[in-house]
Amino acid sequence: MGRRAPDGGVIFTFTLDNYIRLLGLQPDCLNPLACFDPLYVSILWRSLTLAFNTTLIVILMAYPLAYFIARAPQKRRNTYLFLVLVPLWTNFVIRVYAWMMLLRTQGAINGVLGWLAGLFGMPFTPLEMLYTPGAVLVGMVYEFLPFMILPIYTSLEKIDPSLYEAAADLGANALKTFWRVTLPLSMPGVVAGTILVFIPVMGTFVVSDLLGGKQVILVGNLIQRQFLDARDPTFGSAASLVLMVLTLIVTVFYTRKFGFGKEIVVG
């Protein structure tokens, strides 16, 4: 709600110019089709799809893991949970750097692949993995996996084992028991995990900065640059607000659709 001053300060007047810019239009332009610039809209769209994909992959990876831990003997569960949490002891940024080491052209993965290729006498050109959208996705999934495993584990662990027996007793095999009993009863964990993962992924800029380079610019990067590099805090604020509203809309829509588990809705 202001205008950028030439020296990087803020002129406090009411204007929607920044929002119009975000939509890819110019305030003075009379023909929207001619002067439409998709830059910022595509950044928003990219952030949204990346957050969506990350959450989906994290759910698909976390659920079996959480299920495995919840069904493991009591003694081993704590060990497994400990292993899930160990990476969180290291700083977030350092863990992203570790992925850079792995994904670089001269990194560990290419090293192993090259050695294997050499072993079989095949030609090998190192893969370009770093600074691609894929690298950002891998980093995101890695960073946020524990935040999905823990709530799903908690909700799975809470399920009374006699419910599995009741389902079997009533004629359900393992697969049907899973679909009709286990999955619905663990949905609160999936919903909680989704919120814990989706929201931070929407706003993060470290992962995309380090693993995506200049290839993958997300809303988070856009905001960061407006404040630090472009020195346009008014445009940065507008982008932040749009990010918040966008996240809120998705979250509300999602929780309305799936609930925090049906039981709370009907309670």
Binding site: E165, A166, D169
Partner: protein, 369 residues
């Protein structure tokens, strides 16, 4: 149709304890449960009754021996392929499903057409008096109602055998008595074989056609409630069901249906019932129920009567419970309240002298383990 609804043949279930040793939770059990019978397994916790039930349901498999349902050996058949259904102690209702969905679940698994599901669920809910609550979730029901949902959910599948694992355990006393009556009525109506696990002997005695008394994984006796109470086969059953006085002695003589037993604690020979098992010279335990001993001021004719000193008198309304010192033994005597209302204090007082009469036909000789 085979002879028995359920049969356990020489069944053993061995568990490994956390310390690494093994224990037979069920130890060479033989059991024949007839069609349409209300059969109870009675015992204190850890006696193997629930494990036996779980083996019939298929949640556990026997280490040795075989479980037959309607004549078919079950082997390692999983629960969802057995023609039995279970009512769980904790009810195990699906919290995310309505009452209707809970009861319909089993029929949906059997791919019953939707129309028929609707009709049968309606019938089942009517049977347990829950009509109108179809759309509620289990958390919106009382304990007794949840119990009925669990019952309807199992019965709707029309199993050959219904297994009930202490289903009334979580209910309060009044509701429990009501449900006991209702369960019994229901069982007669549907004609399904009920196998009922309980640790409550009154429950077992009042509801069952036959009872299996279990202890430490073994069946101690199987019989009708009357047989179990009046003709216990061993000291354990005599002592576990109701209360009893046990007197050890030696058989001196056998006179067709009577035994003459010398009881050191009474310093005398007493006459007792002979069930045909004993010979002269054998050690026996004599069992007599507290309510079958009589306390009198002066015995008219004296078979098995001994001078007694009243030690404690506990008045509990319908009964008066007396602890009497008879020679060197302490006997529990329960007498029905026959005192005249005109003179309510006319009963024996503490430290009074009296005679205890132990009618020979109520004095049962049992083996000394």
């Amino acid at each position: 149709m085979s002879e028995y609804a359920v049969e356990l043949r020489n069944v053993v279930k061995t568990f490994v304890t956390p310390e690494g040793s093994t224990i037979n939770a069920v130890d060479h059990v033989d059991m024949q449960i007839r069609h349409g019978e209300f059969f109870s397994m009675l015992g204190s916790s850890g006696c193997g009754k629930t494990t036996s039930l779980r083996m019939i349901a298929g949640f556990e498999w026997p280490t040795r021996g075989e479980v037959f349902i309607d004549g078919e050996p079950q082997g390692h058949r999983p629960p969802f392929q057995r023609k039995v259904n279970t009512v769980f102690q904790s009810y195990a209702l699906f919290q995310h499903m309505t009452v209707f969905e809970n009861v319909a679940f089993g029929l949906q698994m059997d791919k019953v057409p939707a129309e028929e599901i609707k009709r049968r669920v309606g019938e089942a809910l009517a049977m347990v008096k829950l009509t109108g609550l179809e759309k509620r979730y289990p958390r919106q029901l009382s304990g007794g109602q949840q119990q009925r949902v669990a019952l309807a959910r199992a019965l709707v599948k029309r199993p050959k055998v219904l297994l009930l694992d202490e289903p009334l355990g979580a209910l309060d006393l009044k509701l429990r008595k009501e449900m006991q009556l209702e369960l019994k009525t229901l069982q007669r109506e549907v004609g399904i074989t009920f196998v009922f696990v309980t640790h409550d002997q009154e429950e077992a005695l009042s509801m069952s056609d036959r009872i299996a008394v279990m202890s430490h994984g073994k069946v101690m006796q199987i019989g009708t409630p009357v047989e179990i109470y009046e003709r216990p086969r061993n000291k354990f059953v005599a002592d576990f069901i109701g209360e009893t006085n046990l007197l050890d002695g030696t058989v001196r003589a056998v006179q067709d249906k009577w035994l003459m037993v010398f009881v050191p604690a009474l310093q005398a020979e007493v006459r007792a019932l002979n069930n045909g098992e004993f010979r002269a010279g054998q050690q026996v335990s004599l069992s007599i129920r507290p309510e079958k001993i009589r306390l009198v001021e002066k015995p008219s004719e004296c078979v098995n009567c001994f001078p007694a000193q009243v030690r404690q008198v506990a008045y509990i309304g319908a009964d008066t419970r007396v602890i009497a010192q008879v020679i060197q033994s302490t006997l529990r005597v329960w007498e029905q309240n026959m005192v005249s209302t005109l003179d309510p204090d006319a009963y024996f007082q503490q430290n009074e002298q009296a005679w205890a009469v132990l009618p020979p036909e109520n004095l049962l000789a049992l083996p000394v383990d």
